[in-house]
């Protein structure tokens, strides 16, 4: 921690040196997407300038290099997550794609039928809500919701009461993108397992901020996006327990995911290829591994300590502002969400933008959560390794100035 220096980290992200509306950019929209360090961009460029080729089955040299790089990336991801084996790592195009993969293969599996129940929580992103609604509609199952307490955490007693022999799946996020709430997913998974349910963790907002040990977490599926953890857009991961992947049916059909195709009968490949139809985002996967290398080079624990300090400082600074409501519990991860009495979040966001402060406003793809709190949205500041205490001071000053204008 002592040698963690955000100023040095900022050097890796030239975009942060920009001015917006004539003011230095203060980028506090990291939960939406992080910026990419030059180390990652360089890997992408090098991929295209030295080894780009389509992977698998290629007899020629470039194709072999590209295949090796792609499979190395899979191993890097597996190691980073402490998966049991690389074959549990499926490359997808993002969290949303990953979760839809799970809901679709479960839908086709025959494992869930009319009268069964799926439990999600009131904190979920639409990406971990709508796919389950679709699944329920397809198979006639019921969606059950873990309620959200006033402090923005899940009602785990209510969760226990929801669990029953009808529960076939429990799917929750690890960290809420809207409020920064950290869910006790180890507890939730172990209870769900005890009830015989399949467990799915939306890790979009935990992977950028903390150590993820999937063997410890012991979930069946874990999903996240590369672009939220310093990697490019268009690549994501679905971790799946190997025996489940082996047993469940495929989703997308196409090249690579087959063993043999005849018009009468097609047999499918083994995991992970069974779930990777078509040419994957080869460059994206390699860049994602480079992003993990980047994070590990700094140290995820050092990043976590720094971000924790930022969030605590932000909570304290913001609490002093008149008429503010902070959502979520004290020990937030990654993001802090708030509103001001009588001020529309969109107005506040618009004025902050004029001052170079990039925050997100609105429902954060969590309309049910917003409805639960009787609001249409919030202002959200979210953090990455490169953010600084000074930026939070600029935020507080900007909010003060804007409050004067808006009230």
């Amino acid at each position: 921690m002592s040698d963690f220096d955000p100023a040095r980290i900022r050097d890796d992200f030239p975009i942060l040196g920009q001015e917006v509306h004539g003011k230095p950019l203060v980028y506090l929209d990291n939960a939406a997407t992080t910026q990419k360090p030059e180390q990652v961009l360089k890997v992408s460029q090098e991929y295209y300038s030295s080894l780009n080729a389509n992977i698998h089955r290629g007899v020629h040299h470039l194709s072999q290099l590209a295949t090796a790089a792609h499979e190395d990336a899979r191993r890097t991801v597996a190691t980073h997550l402490n998966a049991h084996r690389p074959e549990e790592i499926i490359f997808t195009s993002g969290t949303t794609d990953s979760i839809n993969l799970v809901t679709n293969i479960l839908s086709r599996s025959g494992k869930i039928s009319s009268g069964d129940e799926i439990i999600i929580s009131g904190l979920e992103h639409h990406s971990n809500t709508v796919p389950w609604q679709m699944l329920c509609e397809q198979v006639g199952a019921q969606l059950r919701i873990i309620p959200v307490l006033e402090n923005g955490t899940l009602d785990l007693d209510a969760f226990e009461n929801l669990l029953s022999s009808k529960t076939k799946v429990v799917s929750v996020n690890h960290v809420s993108n809207a409020f920064g709430t950290v869910n006790n997913v180890i507890h939730i998974c172990s209870q769900a397992k005890a009830a015989g349910a399949i467990t799915v963790i939306d890790g979009a907002q935990s992977i950028p901020h903390q150590v993820i040990d999937l063997q410890l977490l012991d979930c069946d599926f874990y999903a996240f996006s590369g672009h939220k953890v310093y990697a490019p857009t268009g690549v994501g991961i679905l971790y799946g327990r190997y025996d489940l992947l082996a047993e469940l049916p495929p989703w997308r059909g196409g090249g690579e995911m087959i063993k043999e195709v005849t018009f009468d009968h097609t047999t499918y490949n083994d995991p992970p290829y069974k779930y990777e139809a078509g040419t994957p985002n080869i460059e994206g996967g390699i860049a994602l591994a480079a992003a993990f290398d980047y994070v590990n080079n700094i140290g995820i624990n050092a990043i976590n300590a720094h971000e924790t300090r930022l969030i605590q400082y932000a909570s304290e600074s913001l609490s002093t502002l008149p008429g503010i409501t902070l959502y979520g519990p004290e020990n937030r991860v990654g993001a802090i969400s708030f509103n001001f009495d009588g001020v529309h979040h969109f107005d506040m966001g618009t004025l902050l933008d004029q001052m170079g402060l990039a925050l997100r406003t609105g429902h954060h793809c969590c309309q049910p959560l917003m409805a639960r709190f009787g609001i249409t949205g919030t202002l959200r500041a979210s953090f990455a390794a490169y953010n600084t205490i000074e930026e939070i001071d600029l935020l507080t000053a900007g909010l003060n100035r804007a409050l004067d204008m808006l009230r």
Binding site: H21, H344, F346, D347, L351, Q354, T361, L406
Partner: protein, 136 residues
């Protein structure tokens, strides 16, 4: 004052300000000065739905003149519709329909707004003209 004179006056006032924060301040101020729109007029029919904010617009017609009332849950959006109200309120339906509202482009507002807000601007203008058509 003609519509185009009113537009020029508005542009002159906006140009007094050096930076956009001040311009926003001014626009918000215009919104605050809008005549109050009775709650019962803020119906679903009167709603122009934006991306993150909502605007209600009511139009009546008396003595050959259009009267506009508007409100929004966003003070910036309210200021934006106040720009139009200032230009079009009290004009005949035909003048409203005929009005060249491209002055909005000269304010530079559109480049400075989130596209959804810039869109809302066009929506508001269109809605006011539509109301005028009903009374023409």
């Amino acid at each position: 004052m003609t519509i185009s004179e009113k537009q020029q006056e508005l542009l002159d006032e906006l140009n007094l300000f050096q930076d956009w924060t001040e311009r926003y301040e001014y626009i918000i101020g215009l919104g605050k000065k809008l005549a109050e729109m009775p709650q019962e007029l803020q119906t679903n029919e009167a709603l122009i739905k934006g991306c993150q904010s909502q605007v209600w617009l009511d139009a009546t017609h008396a003595d050959g003149k259009m009267n506009f009332l508007a409100n929004s849950d966003s003070v910036i959006t309210k200021g934006m519709i106040a720009l139009f109200v200032r230009i079009l309120d009290g004009e005949s339906p035909d003048s409203v329909i005929a009005a060249d509202l491209s002055f909005i482009d000269q304010t530079g507002l559109k480049e400075h707004l989130a596209p959804t807000r810039a869109n809302a601007l066009s929506l508001m203008a269109a809605e006011m003209k539509k109301k005028a058509v009903e009374f023409s």
